[in-house]
Every structure is written in C-alpha cells, then in structure tokens.
C-alpha cells in the first residue's frame, strides 16, 4: 500500500469515519472532528503506523495533507 492509502486508513481510524477520502489539499477545516485534541491523536497514530517520530518544527509547518504525505515519505526514506 502506498503512503497515501495507509494515511487514509489512519485518518479513518482516528476520526472514526470509514468514508474519509484524503486529498493533497485537505486541511483541518475540511474535517469537522479535526481539532487540536484529535490532531495530537492523529500525529501519535501516524507515528505508530509509520514507525517514525516528528519534530516540533515539522509538525508546526504542516499546511495540508499533501505536505504530511511528503513528510512521512521523507522520514521513512520513501522519497
């Protein structure tokens, strides 16, 4: 499975919504449940799924889901 599909699974788990389809342009504004609380949960879930750890700056700089995918690929050596 590619990074995007795996990330989509994580989104579905965290936001408890089987119908979420992620896009590169997607941001927190697009998902109702995506607030500061679930954001922390999302980061932890992604770190667990991909076995990596994000730095403070990396997390702060994320603008949208596309950047998130790129970041994951960079951290896991897929890029």
């Amino acid at each position: 499975m590619d990074t995007k599909s795996r990330l989509e699974e994580v989104f579905r788990e965290v936001f408890d919504d089987e119908e979420i389809e992620i896009t590169n342009e997607m941001t927190a504004d697009d998902i109702e449940e995506w607030d500061s609380l679930t954001h922390v949960q999302l980061i932890v879930a992604v770190e667990e799924e991909f076995g990596c750890k994000f730095s403070t700056v990396e997390v702060m700089k994320l603008k949208n889901v596309g950047e998130f995918i790129n970041l994951i690929d960079r951290k896991t050596g897929n890029a």
């Binding site: 788990e13 965290v14 408890d16 500061s36 609380l37 954001h39 922390v40 949960q41 932890v44 879930a45 667990e48 799924e49 994000f54 730095s55 403070t56 997390v59 702060m60």
Partner: protein, 593 residues
C-alpha cells in the same frame, strides 16, 4: 467484549477505545452504569484532555462508572484555591492533581519547604469537599542533569532536591491523600522515552503519550482500592511453584531450592517476595495436591526453605479438587472467596479455578520460575488503599488463631477458655491514631456488618467534627495477638435522613472483624454504645439490619443484644429502651484506657 485491557496496548488503539466509550457508552461500557457514577476531578499543570478520556476507559474496565470533571489547562490554583469554583460545585469523590518537574523551581532546600507548603495548602483546601480522596502525583525525575555525574553527589542539584521533595510527599501526605508514583512509572518504562520535550512544547503533554495507558491504569487501580473491593489472601501451590520438583517423588531434601543452583535460587527469590507480601499484611495459604504430611516436610526439614509453616495461615494439602479447597480456605479464614488470589504453575489448575471460582483472582504464571516474582508483582493483585499497622500484624494473627484453637481444644468450658485468653480491650471515640484503620475496616468488612455503609476517610473525619455523630472503635489484644482496631460503630442522632427523632440514637454502622468472633466483643462495645447514647441525651437506641449476600451471620444480632423488634414493613428495625436498667453480661475482656 474483552474485559481485559492491556495498559501497554498501542496508544492509538487505547485512544480509539476511549473515544468510543465517550461517544457510545451504551455499546462500549463494561461497568454497570445504572447507579450513581463516581465523581472524579482531574486537574493538571499540563494537558490532561487525553488522560481524562483514557482514565475513563480504565476506570470502566475496573468496573467503575465515572463522571469526570476536567479542569482547565494549568487550572489547579484557579479551581482549588477559589471556593466558588466549578470544582467545588462538582463535589468530586476523587480529585487527581497531576504535576511535573517543570512546575517547580528548586534551587535550594528552602524551596522544597515552600513547595511542600504550597501542596499542603492545596490539600487542605480540598478537604472542604466532604469525603474527598486526593491523588497527588509525585515528580518523575527528569532525564537531563545539569550536574551530570555529580547530580546525586550534591544536595542542591535539581535532581537531589526533587528526590527530597518526593520523599517529603511520602512522609508528610495526610491519610486521605494518595501518592501516585510517577517517579516509579517513568523509571519502569524508561525515562529516555518517558519524557518527550517536543510534545510538551507543542501541546503540553506532561509525558510521552504512549504512557497514558500505564498512568491511567495505575490511577484507576488506586481509585478502585479506595472505592472497591480488595484482595486479602495469596493461595499458593507447592510443587514447581514455591520449590522446583515434586516433593512426593524427590523428597523433602531433594526438591530444587539450593541457593547455589540457579533454579533453586529462582524459587527462593519467589519465596522471599511472598514473605515480603506477608509482612505487609497479605495472608498466605497453601492449596496443593499432596499428602499433608509429605507437603509439610520441606517446611520442617529443608533448611533452604524461606517460608516456614508458621507463615501459612491455612495449609490445605489433600487430594480434593482445588476449587473445593479454595472454598475451604475462604471459610476457614473467615474471608470472602472473592478476596483470594491463586498462584499455581499448572495451567489446568488455573483454568479449573477460573471456571469454578470465577471471583478468585488467578495469576497468569509464566513457565520460567525466575519470572514468577515479576508476574505476581506486575499483576498487583494486592492494591490496597492503605497499609495499616493492623495489616502488618494480620497475617501472623491468623497463624496465632491456629494456636489459639489448639488451646481451645484443651478447655472443656468455653468461658474458661475465654478467661485464659487474657483479653484486654479498649473502646472509645475515634481519634487521629485510629481513623485510617477505622476507614479501612468500615470499607472492608462484609460479614459482621449490620448496614454495610461505606465511608471514606474524608467522610469519617467530617463525622468526627459533628456534634450529633459518634464514631466508636474497639481495639483488642489477647495473650497471643495484638489485634488493634477490630470493630467500628457509628452512632447518629435521629434526623430526617435516617427517619428518626432527636431523642433516638440510630446505629448507622456496626461492623467487626471476623477474626474476633465469639469473644464477647459485641457486648463489650455495646456498653460503650449505651453510655455514648445516654451522653447524647437519647431515650432509645435504634438498630437496623440491611441484608446483603454476605451478612446473614448478624441477622439476629440486635435481638441477641436485648433489642425489641419494631413494626416496619420496609426496614428491619430494632429498638433498645435507654430508660430501663441494662442487663449486665459477663465479659472476659478487661477494659483498659
């Protein structure tokens, strides 16, 4: 649904389950949610939102339905110091104060004093909430040391001052404050991972989120120990459990216990740990398939045995099935079968106990004997709210009971026996020295308990200050044992709540430890009850029996004491006229002050 929840499960799974419990409690809760919820307040200097959800989940899995108040971020002072805050309106049963090392400024010893003053001030403010139990975290020592290798060599290093602060929490916390040992948890899981500076700076997580499970589990277990049932007795198998090999085949001297052999050492290590449990008040029993004489031989003849026959309160070695033996052990020790913990290397025996004695806690025993101690310790089946001096003496008193019984056999007349016991008793109003044990007994005793009213230590300390309430304790010793406090009685002047008038003295609670049955303690205590009721200016005493699954032994208690049954269709009530002269019962207990 799988009831067992592993605190070390991945945190995203735990969070998901925690969220599911919030969203759809009816589908996901394990605890009974029909009664009143336990009110728990969580306050912290760092982010507690996720912790609150995870704690709710772990409480649920411990069978506790909780209503949780979540304080504002860094809102401890705001909530605790302001008597008009939301916290005081919520009136929690339990208040958790979560802190971390970055909250305290420690540069010299005086700063530790100041921090202790601050914390004590918080606790005494919280005391205004009737019956509240406070859970205060201690401080996980940080992973960085500005003194490097000299951190522990100087008293004024931050690490040393924090250790001092932790030690002072240990020695100076009042009895309604429980210390949650974050320093232990962080060391157990490893501080390198425990602290996650990034997530602290980013979202103010007090520690790495992957340890939310363990912290919530630890906290939930403490809450359960304060508000629920606790285990009392460790029931051990013998062969391949406390020694290697089979005594029936290998002989008392042939079993594996040699301290110069790694296997023998592992079994001795386990025995040593079991002995340390006994010293803190856990009762020990044996449940073994063996001939009794053969099973006892190692205890008598093998010098490498650490456990002695005198450490075992109930020795049950026979060829009966182990489930029946469990019932026998509970009965002979006069404790509930649901307070037993079973430790046996044989998975088949464990399965039988799980199936036929489902209320017994069964430990998953690993195959390797060197892992026994950790398995038992990590299962923490003896999580108690407090360890009192009565606890420390308890396991011995069960053994002394056996000696007492041997003495009893030599007397033809029971009164002669009671006289020969040379009992001395004390009966009076509860003070600071008795309150911890008074609360413990009030919450633990099931069989000799007339109304089974449970009160926390906080609630009892409120009663002590109430002019219309008397908390009376009885302590006892005899020529074999110092029992300490063994009976608790709470008297209340009649009021609208209990349904009686101001001339009535209502016995709100009367319980007694079953270790001192048939000694005349009840009559001894009743003399004091009468005196106190008269001193309150009452004309009669009213007693009530509320039936539970376990207290049938006291059904006729008040009638035996000379009370008259009262007409009442809803409640089982008895009255005792204080305006008549009392009948004096012969007592063998010498009253001491």
């Amino acid at each position: 649904m799988n009831k067992r929840l592993d605190p070390n499960e991945s945190i995203s799974k735990i969070l998901k389950m925690a969220n599911a419990l919030v969203k759809k409690p009816d589908e996901n809760a394990v605890a009974d949610r029909t009664g009143e919820p336990l009110k728990v307040a969580v306050l912290g200097t760092h982010s507690i939102q996720h912790f609150v959800n995870v704690l709710r989940l772990f409480l649920d899995r411990e069978g506790i339905y909780a209503d949780i108040y979540e304080g504002e971020y860094d809102g401890i002072n705001m909530d605790v110091l302001d008597d008009t805050s939301e916290l005081y309106r919520f009136k929690p049963d339990v208040c958790i104060l979560m802190m971390r090392y970055s909250d305290v400024k420690l540069e010299k010893k005086e700063d530790v004093d100041a921090e202790m003053d601050y914390l004590k001030n918080l606790w005494s403010h919280l005391d205004k909430i009737t019956g509240v139990t406070v859970l205060q975290t201690n401080f996980a020592l940080p992973v960085v040391r500005s003194y490097n290798g000299l951190e522990a060599a100087y008293e004024e290093s931050f690490g040393s001052l924090l250790r001092l602060l932790n030690m002072r929490l240990t020695s100076e916390h009042p009895t309604n404050v429980h210390i949650v040992d974050m320093e232990f948890l962080s060391s157990y899981y490893g501080k390198r991972e425990w602290f996650d500076e990034g997530s602290y700076f980013l979202t103010k997580q007090g520690f790495n989120m992957k340890y939310l499970g363990p912290v919530a589990y630890e906290t939930a277990r403490i809450i359960k120990a304060v508000h629920g049932k606790t285990n009392k007795c460790l029931v051990l198998d013998l062969d391949n459990t406390i020694w290697g090999g089979v005594v029936g085949d290998d002989g008392a001297l042939g079993i594996e216990l040699d301290p110069h052999n790694p296997i023998g050492e592992a079994y001795r290590y386990f025995q040593q740990y079991v002995l340390s449990l006994k010293k803190r008040g856990v009762i020990l029993a044996v449940n073994s398939k063996n001939d009794e004489d053969v099973a006892k031989e190692p205890f008598l003849k093998n010098a490498d045995m650490i456990l002695k026959l005198d450490d075992i309160a109930c020795f049950c070695a026979n060829w009966n099935d182990k489930a029946s033996n469990m019932h026998y052990i509970a009965k002979s020790l006069n404790i509930g079968i649901d307070t037993l913990v079973f430790f046996d290397d044989n998975p088949a025996e464990r399965e039988i106990i799980r199936k036929f004695c489902p209320s017994v806690t069964v430990i998953d025993v690993p195959v390797e004997p060197e892992k026994y101690v950790r398995a038992l310790d990590e299962a923490a089946p003896f999580e108690w709210a407090a360890i009192t001096k009565e606890d420390m003496a308890r396991s011995d008193s069960y053994i002394e009971n056996a000696k007492r019984e041997a003495m009893q056999a030599s007397f033809v007349d029971y009164n002669e026996y009671l006289k020969a016991l040379e009992m001395r008793g004390k009966c009076g109003i509860v003070g600071a020295a008795e309150i911890e044990r008074f609360a413990q007994l009030t919450n633990k005793s099931n069989q000799f308990n007339l109304r089974t009213q449970r009160y926390s230590e906080g609630e009892i300390s409120v009663m002590l200050g109430d002019a219309d309430t008397r908390c009376i304790y009885v302590s006892l010793s005899d020529k074999f044992t110092q029992y300490g406090v063994i009976s608790c009685i709470i008297l209340r002047r009649g009021n609208a709540e209990n349904g009686f008038g101001p001339d009535d003295c209502f016995i709100d609670n009367w319980c007694m430890s079953c270790r001192v049955l048939k000694r005349g303690v009840e009559n001894f205590a009743f003399e004091t009850v009468i005196a106190e009721a008269r001193q309150m200016g009452c004309k009669r005493i009213v007693g009530e029996y509320i039936r539970t699954k376990k207290n049938s032994m006291v059904e006729g208690f008040y009638a035996r004491l000379g009370f008259e049954p009262m007409d009442n269709s809803d409640r089982v009530l008895y009255s005792y006229n204080l305006q008549k002269e009392d009948k004096k019962e012969k007592s063998w207990i010498q009253r001491v002050d």
